[in-house]
Symmetry: C2
């Protein structure tokens, strides 16, 4: 059964921050929905690129030598191996597109690490 | 240089229908922007899944035994090997997420085939 996904409906199903949920799967990738607020942790993904698309709110991705500020309808692709720190002053709703193997904290393992994201 | 992509700005750069443009590249995938209107052609991609996300307008994906009607903020993933026919009564703006190897008309080669999409 092929069913459509309404992104807003998915974001309505959870409240917690920094816990990505799988809302789509294709080829070797997952589409994930995540609510964020505040500062995450500096990390990188040595062999996986990662896409951040802002659905609602604003997201800043700090890089070691720059930063990218995103609003609704904007995305950025962080290439593998590039350290980054996502920051949102107020709550933001983000779609992630990443390899199935990607872990949210990259090479770190800490309280924020989600190794087996919930499926919504 | 890591630069953000504003999706609306990309759609403002072209007018033609059914000619996907590459607006992002990560891992083995492209993100493409395409304007559609009318009926495309029945086709399938034997080994590649394909995601359609509606930014503006409405898109119907006809399947052999069903159809999926999408509005803004909705997406569907068509699994590999499933025949589908995209249809839009009025112009719609669609983001595609697909393997780099995916050709818009699948196993068909015709006037609508785009083998080397333009990059915007």
């Amino acid at each position: 059964m092929i069913e459509k996904v309404n992104v807003e409906e998915k974001f309505g199903r959870f409240e917690e921050h920094w816990k990505p949920k799988i809302i789509g799967e294709l080829n070797d990738s997952y589409v994930k929905a995540v609510k964020v607020q505040g500062e995450f942790v500096w990390h990188d993904h040595p062999s996986e690129d990662e896409l951040f698309y802002v659905v609602k709110g604003r997201l800043v991705i700090r890089l070691r030598d720059a930063e990218v500020a995103l609003g609704p309808g904007e995305f950025v692709i962080i290439p593998h191996g590039i350290e980054h720190l996502p920051v949102a002053q107020e709550e933001a709703h983000i779609l992630l597109l990443e390899s199935k193997s990607t872990v949210n904290t990259g090479t770190l393992s800490n309280a924020r690490t989600v190794t087996h994201p919930e499926r919504l």
